[in-house]
Every structure is written in structure tokens, then in C-alpha cells.
């Protein structure tokens, strides 16, 4: 085996790890303006898995596929700085409001356009919705075998792959044929950093929409260097059915959003007296925390 085509699904998400007071709007939706847009963390774990395969088989091609507004092109550049070869931005107003079902449909249509490929790799879940549904749904729609919670690809040959999964109480080693889809868990190795030279080489990679505002100097540079073009695909480009997209293609309805406030309950205040410390040690031994 010399080369594999690997499609990595990535999503630009609001950075919900650093949530401030104005993170949510009054109507219960996410206030995207108040949160930095970042590369979904587990999608970076997914990218690293792809890069490790490319380390072993340098002829392999890593293609990033992301769906989102124009600014999501940043995710593609970021992935390229880290070692991906190229990317496609799936962008169209008709995608707006898509839930996991509509999103996985759109992604699966784009992936069909990229056949043949050996693997689709996605992060387990995105930190905004936290559904972990999109990867598995894409696999279903494409009729691919799927392996979730992946921590390590142990072996990969022509049409066989051996994978370690991270489960709640241990690990599981599974074998599958190719092509397949895997979703990667955050216990898998962190993604390698952006490479300074790749950053310098690809920082002018843009979508056609982004290119519109450029000066002539940059336009001629981008014409001379075709690798600086990030493809944009619309609904028509991937031959998707409008009715299965956006709000009309999304059966999910948000009924209500509750603000969860963590409260301490059943707490016991301990002093630095021997009697309290002794109680604590016994308690910890009883509930198997220590001992």
C-alpha cells in the first residue's frame, strides 16, 4: 500500500471552554459573537490520526471537509498548517439551521463527490452541540462500517485496519475493512502544532469569496499558485436535495433550555481536628477512593 485518501471532517465551533456571562442569548441560543471561533478539539485529535497515517505512507492525501459560513475557511487553513493537503468548504445559505440529520446528509453528499477514498475520520463530538451523532450518521448514509471512540490506529494495510477504542471501563481492539469511518476520542494523541513554513506557504490560501477583496498583487499570486485556492461547494455542487437541508430537513426541535446551576449538596464541613480527619480517611476507604 502506498497512498490513501483520507477525508477529515472538521467543525468550527464557539470556544465553550471559556464561557463568560454573555455566552447565551436571552432566547437560549449560543451567542456566537461573544465566543472565539476555534477548531473543534476532538477534530484536532482526528486530524492527528490522519497525519500519523501520512507519516507512515507519505503519498497519502489528507482532505479537510468542513461545513459552515465563509469564515469557517479558517479551519481549513489551520488544518493545512498542521499538515493536511487541501480542504473543501461546504457553504450555502440553504444549509443554515441544519440539525445533525441534515448536516450528516450534506456531508455525506460531499463525501460521495470525493470517491474513491480509504477513510473518513471525524472527532467524536463537537463542543457546541455535544451530540456525537454526525460521524455515525454520515457512516450510515454512506453505508460504511464505523468505529467510534477511537484512540489509536494500530495497524493499517491494503484493506484491513486494526483499531483501539477507548471505552468507559477499558479498551477494545477491533478490526475492520476499508473504506470506513472512525470517530476519534480526546484520549487519542493531541494534534501536532502548526508548522511555521507551512503557515507561511499557505497563509494566503483562500476561498473564492475571500479572494474578492484582495489587491491585484495577491490575486496574481493566487493565480500563479493553484494550491492557494480553497474550494467552496454549494448545495448544487454536491447535488443535494433542498428539502433535506436546513430547517425543513431538520426534525430536531429545541423545546426548552434550562440554565444549570451547580449547587453543593450533602456536604460536610471538616475541621483540621484528628476526629474529622479520621472520619474522612474511613469514608474514603469505604467508598474505595483510597486503599
Amino acid at each position: 500500500m502506498k497512498s490513501l485518501k483520507i477525508i477529515v471532517l472538521a467543525k468550527q465551533v464557539p470556544d465553550t471552554r471559556n464561557v463568560g456571562k454573555d455566552a447565551m442569548k436571552a432566547d437560549g441560543t449560543v451567542n456566537r459573537g461573544a465566543l472565539a471561533a476555534i477548531f473543534n478539539p476532538e477534530d484536532l485529535n482526528a486530524l492527528e490520526q490522519a497525519l500519523r497515517i501520512k507519516d507512515r505512507y507519505p503519498e497519502s492525501e489528507i482532505v479537510i471537509l468542513t461545513m459552515g459560513p465563509g469564515r469557517a475557511a479558517e479551519i481549513i487553513r489551520e488544518a493545512i498548517y498542521r499538515g493536511a493537503d487541501k480542504g473543501y468548504l461546504l457553504t450555502d445559505r440553504k444549509f443554515a439551521g441544519s440539525d445533525t440529520l441534515a448536516t450528516s446528509y450534506a456531508l455525506s453528499m460531499a463525501i460521495r463527490k470525493m470517491e474513491p477514498y480509504a477513510m473518513v475520520i471525524a472527532g467524536r463530538q463537537a463542543i457546541d452541540g455535544d451530540t456525537a451523532q454526525v460521524g455515525p450518521q454520515v457512516a450510515e448514509k454512506l453505508g460504511l462500517p464505523q468505529v467510534t471512540y477511537v484512540e489509536e490506529i494500530q495497524e493499517i494495510t491494503n484493506n484491513k485496519i486494526v483499531i483501539k477504542r477507548r471505552l468507559e471501563r477499558g479498551v477494545e481492539i477491533v478490526k475492520s475493512s476499508l473504506p470506513l469511518l472512525i470517530t476519534v476520542h480526546n484520549s487519542a494523541p493531541a494534534c501536532r502544532p502548526r508548522h511555521a513554513k507551512r503557515l507561511m506557504k499557505f497563509k494566503h490560501a483562500q476561498t473564492v469569496t475571500e479572494m474578492q477583496d484582495n489587491s491585484e498583487d495577491y490575486i496574481s499570486l493566487q493565480q500563479d499558485r493553484p494550491y492557494l485556492r480553497i474550494e467552496e461547494w454549494s448545495v448544487d455542487d454536491v447535488k443535494a436535495d433542498d428539502s433535506m437541508l436546513g430547517l425543513s430537513g431538520s426534525p430536531t426541535k429545541v423545546k426548552k433550555i434550562d440554565n444549570v446551576v451547580f449547587k453543593a449538596k450533602e456536604s460536610k464541613v471538616l475541621t483540621a481536628q484528628n476526629v474529622d480527619i479520621e472520619w474522612l480517611v474511613k469514608e474514603l476507604i469505604t467508598n474505595n477512593t483510597i486503599g
Binding site: R192, P193, R194, A196, L199, M200, K201, K203, D217
Partner: protein, 572 residues
């Protein structure tokens, strides 16, 4: 924690200094590389954006890898196994990460696989890495050696060694010996030429060598038999894979414990000459030392930044007598003075870096074309400034860094004395900065020339002639007063017939000049961004009283008083 670069506005402010455009234009030769290298910048804006983005990568690696590893690296340290150095696990991870990001050989030209970074953004990177782990910064910062090879070696040597840096080759500069520390003229390690093999053979011992087991080492050695001074020394480049060198021991140190300090034994080790014979110490090592001193300036500012942040955080969290200790005057004064010292040393660091940048860029141009008279004058102007600012930044930043680390522990109280908080490590790491690459006392010996030749004074006059907004005139007036006092102090110190008299007061005079210069830099910074106004005001306020103290001492000092200070010297 957050990205070490993006969270620090001071660094972005320095990177956007107006002189940067000139530096980048010179360094990029009218952006000629854009047609030869796919990663070369197109114009100034593109280059500036690139520095910013690359520093973001470094800032992220500092945040996520180097800083979190610092404690274990300090604890584990490197090990000597079978006469070779094995880095601590964290050190290996740090190096691998920086290597994966392509951040070695940053300032080398593109034709050797480098990023062609000017010195200023490279110094910012060094400050960031130092804040994360000062000991590790030494290992990474030794890529300076590549610059020396590039500047002075033959094309053959350049082509052999320089492309290796982009793939992560580590470096060392082997200067010190048991009997040659501050006095490098006494270096004994022997080099003799083997005509049959057309190589130089090294024999002898080197001591206190940072990262001594590096892939590529620059070795100062005595090539001219029968000589005993600096003119008999040449510089050699040694490739570890060629053998002939072993590490005899690693020193057990107070601080920067992650950086292996080695004793090396060369036994018939083959090497290649860098540049010309006899120029080793008097030209090449002097250049190498100057960039290393700027590096220690960056390291000191990095440690200061780390110590100040720890102190500020603790002072805000720790409550005594029913309120956070930061609310007590004794604590907030300490903290604020720490901060302005940090900002003043940073302002001086990047001013120096820019001077070095301009003059080196012109020097590089002069190898390819004849400079116009105007350009030659400008090159000389910046070179003179770089020569006297470099010892000044090394002196001031390292002394401030020790003061700031000391005060950071003070603010932590008893807790700071324990191993539980990072400040004790920062305090230990800070201690070496006033010693290596020339002690503070030696920096004064170099810097006093700036006082006696008037280079500092004429630059101070230039700062003085720049316009400031009307409400800042008062601060400028103070600086002008300080300058008059400085001039008087110089006259007084130069009056005596006694030769030692000026040497005795040299440090006081150099520090007076430094305070005025740093005062002006903060004042000018605050003109460019009002955020620095308070710092400028506080620093100048303090600096005036520091200078008065020095002036008073010099004025009241009688030539005969020198003898007083030898009270025990004669008994030895």
C-alpha cells in the same frame, strides 16, 4: 493560562514599532525571495503578519507544553549515561514540539532552510520560551550558533552545517575552561592542523558548557602554538557524530537545572575552521557573545514576566486581615515597582534588538553590494548604539530579573519559600542571569565606554529632541534634569588622577545612563500608546531618586576614600 504571545500586549506593541518596516525591508532585500521560495513574504504587511502568526504558534507551545513541563524538568534534570547527555522527558517533548513546528534556525536565510526572521521577532520568541522555562530557553536559544556560522564561516562549512538546523540540530558554544572564565584569552584547548586529512584536531578540556553534548558545537581553541593571548585563538565547528569528544560530568546547579552544563573532554576530535585563523576570540566570539548577551536579556525579561504574573495572582488571591494582601500599600507598591521594572527592561530589550537588526542587515547588504555613503553612516550609527546598548540590557534586565524574582517570593511570604509554588524555581533560575555570558561587573566594563565616549548622552539628546504631548512635558523635564545630573557625575568621576577612580564609579554611571534611557523609552512608548503613561510616570519618578542617590555618593566621594574600600584587600 492562555497563549503566551497573544495575551501579552507589550510584545505585540514592540513588534509594531515604526522602525520595523526599515528592518524588514532591508532583511528581505525588496522581497526578492518571493519568486524563489513559496514561503517568503510578499511585502512588509505580509511579513509582519507572518511574525505575528509564528509567534502565536510559539505562544501556544509555551502555554500547552513548555510551561506545564517546567516543574518536572527542573526536578528530573538531564542525566549522564555512558558519557552522553540524556535530556529530561519534558525537555525531549519541548524540543520535539518546537521541531515539529519548524522553529529551529529561525533567523537563518531561506537558502539554508531558515525562516529569515529579523532579530526582533526572534528575541520575542526567546522571551516567550524563557517565561515558560528559562532552563529550556538555553537549549533552544543556542540556535544563535547558526547565526555565527552563517556570518563568518566559508560556504563549504555553511552548506554542511546550516541546513541541519531546520531538522532540529541542537548547538553549543564551547568557550569556558577551568582556567579561562571571564578571561577567555587564557583558553588552552589545542587545535592542530592535520594536513593529510585537511582537518583540525582538537585536544583538551572545556568546562561549564551549556548543552555541551549538542549535535553541532562551536569550539574556541588555541591554533597558534607558542601564543598565550587572544590572538592565538581560532573558532572551530565540531560535529558530534564524528566522535572524539565525551562528556565527563554534568554539573549540579542552583537553577536552570533542565539545561545540561557539561564538562567536555576532546581527544583527537576532528573539526573544521570557522572563518580565519586567529580571529576566533577577537572577532567571532565577540559577535557570538553579543548575540548571547541579547539572549540573556530576553531570558531575564521572560523570567521577570513569569515572576510578576505569579506575584500578582497570589497577591490578589491571598487574604489576610480580612482582605486580599494586594490592597495593602506595602504590597501594591512592591508589585507596581516590579511591573515598571519589567516594562522598562522590556523597552530597552527591544530597542537594543532593533539597533542590532538594522546594523546587521546593513552589514549583510555590504557583502553583496557597495553601500551608499548614507547607508554606511547609518550602519555605523546603529552599530555604535548596538555595541553600548547590548551590555546595558544584559546588565539591567538580569539585575531587575533577580530583584523581581526576589520580591515575587516576598509577596508569597512563607508559601513562596516552599517548593509548592513556581516562584522558588523562578528565583533560582534568575540567579545565573547576572553571571553567565559575562557577569554584571563585566557588562559595566563594556558599557562604561558608552558613558566616556558620550554615545549614551548623544542618544539621550536625540530622545530629548522628540516631541511629546504637552501634558507629558513635565516628565520630560525630569529626564532633562536627570541628564544634567548625569553629566555632572561623569565630570566628577573623571576628574581624579587615580586610574581606579572611574572604574570604581563605573557601575553607578552606567546605571544612571540606563535609568534615563529607559525613562525616555517608556515616555516615548506612552506617546505611541497611552496605556504606558502610568508606567512611564512611575518609572521616571523612581529613577530620579535612584539617580540622585548615585549622584550624591559620587559627589561626596573623595579620591582618598578608595583606600577605605581596600580595608581587607591588603591583608590577603
Amino acid at each position: 493560562m492562555a497563549n503566551f504571545y497573544t495575551e501579552n500586549q507589550d510584545l505585540q506593541f514592540q513588534l509594531s514599532h515604526p522602525l520595523m518596516k526599515k528592518i524588514v525591508d532591508l532583511k528581505e532585500y525588496g522581497f526578492a525571495d518571493r519568486d524563489k521560495f513559496d514561503y517568503a513574504p510578499l511585502d512588509y504587511e505580509d511579513a509582519a503578519d507572518t511574525y505575528h502568526k509564528v509567534l502565536e504558534i510559539i505562544g501556544e507551545i509555551c502555554e500547552t507544553t513548555i510551561a506545564p513541563n517546567a516543574e518536572s524538568v527542573d526536578h528530573d534534570g538531564p542525566q549522564l549515561i555512558d558519557n552522553t547527555v540524556h535530556y529530561a522527558r519534558g525537555t525531549q517533548e519541548n524540543l520535539e514540539m518546537l521541531n515539529q513546528a519548524g522553529l529551529l534556525g529561525m533567523s537563518l536565510p531561506r537558502k539554508y532552510g531558515g525562516l529569515n526572521f529579523p532579530i526582533t521577532p526572534y528575541v520575542i520568541a526567546a522571551e516567550l520560551v524563557s517565561r515558560a522555562d528559562a532552563g529550556f530557553a538555553n537549549i533552544w536559544g543556542l540556535q544563535d550558533c547558526a547565526e555565527t556560522i552563517h556570518e563568518f564561516a566559508s560556504d563549504d562549512v555553511k552548506n554542511e552545517f546550516l541546513p541541519r538546523f531546520q531538522y532540529g540540530a541542537t548547538a553549543a558554544m564551547d568557550l569556558t575552561e577551568p582556567d579561562a572564565g571571564s578571561d577567555l584569552q587564557s583558553v588552552q584547548l589545542k587545535a592542530h592542523y592535520d594536513q593529510a586529512r585537511d582537518i583540525w584536531i582538537l585536544n583538551g578540556v572545556k568546562r561549564f558548557i551549556t548543552n555541551g553534548d549538542a549535535d553541532i558545537s562551536l569550539v574556541l581553541a588555541r591554533s597558534e602554538e607558542g601564543t598565550s593571548d587572544g590572538r592565538g585563538l581560532s573558532l572551530f565547528v565540531f560535529d558530534r557524530t564524528d566522535g572524539g569528544m565525551v562528556v565527563r560530568r554534568i554539573e549540579n546547579k542552583l537553577g536552570i537545572k533542565g539545561s545540561p552544563t557539561c564538562e567536555l573532554v576532546f581527544k583527537d576530535a576532528p573539526s573544521k575552521l570557522v572563518g580565519d585563523r586567529r580571529m576566533g576570540l577577537i572577532k567571532y566570539v565577540m559577535a557570538l557573545m553579543n548575540s548571547a548577551r541579547l539572549g540573556i536579556g530576553a531570558q531575564s525579561v521572560g523570567i521577570s514576566e513569569a515572576a510578576y504574573r505569579e506575584a500578582l495572582k497570589y497577591a490578589g488571591e491571598r487574604e489576610q486581615f480580612g482582605k486580599p494582601i494586594v490592597q495593602f500599600p506595602a504590597v501594591y507598591e512592591l508589585l507596581t515597582v516590579m511591573k515598571v521594572k519589567l516594562q522598562a527592561s522590556r523597552a530597552l530589550l527591544y530597542e537594543t534588538a532593533r539597533f542590532v537588526d538594522v546594523y546587521k542587515a546593513y552589514a549583510n547588504h555590504s557583502e553583496h553590494r557597495k553601500l551608499e555613503k548614507e547607508e554606511r553612516d547609518e550602519m555605523k550609527y546603529y552599530q555604535r548604539l548596538a555595541d553600548v546598548y547590548t551590555p546595558l540590557i544584559k546588565l539591567m534586565a538580569s539585575e531587575y530579573c533577580n530583584q523581581i524574582a526576589y520580591d515575587a517570593i516576598q509577596i508569597h511570604g512563607g508559601t513562596g519559600f516552599m517548593k509548592d509554588f513556581p516562584v522558588e524555581r523562578l528565583f533560582r533560575d534568575a540567579r545565573i542571569t547576572t553571571i553567565y555570558e559575562g557577569t554584571s561587573q563585566l557588562q559595566v566594563v563594556a558599557a562604561i565606554r558608552g558613558v566616556t565616549t558620550g554615545v549614551y548622552l548623544s542618544k539621550i539628546r536625540e530622545y530629548e529632541n522628540l516631541k511629546v504631548s504637552p501634558d507629558q512635558e513635565l516628565l520630560k523635564k525630569r529626564l532633562i534634569e536627570m541628564t544634567t545630573e548625569y553629566e555632572h557625575a561623569i565630570l566628577k568621576a573623571q576628574k581624579s588622577e587615580e586610574e581606579e577612580y572611574l572604574d570604581f564609579h563605573a557601575r553607578r554611571l552606567v546605571e544612571m545612563a540606563a535609568h534615563i534611557i529607559m525613562g525616555y523609552l517608556l515616555l516615548l512608548d506612552s506617546e505611541r500608546d497611552p496605556v504606558y503613561r502610568d508606567s512611564a510616570r512611575i518609572f521616571i519618578q523612581r529613577a530620579q531618586s535612584w539617580n540622585r542617590e548615585r549622584m550624591l555618593f559620587i559627589h561626596q566621594f573623595e579620591p582618598n576614600d578608595l583606600g577605605l574600600y581596600k580595608m581587607d584587600v591588603m591583608k590577603l
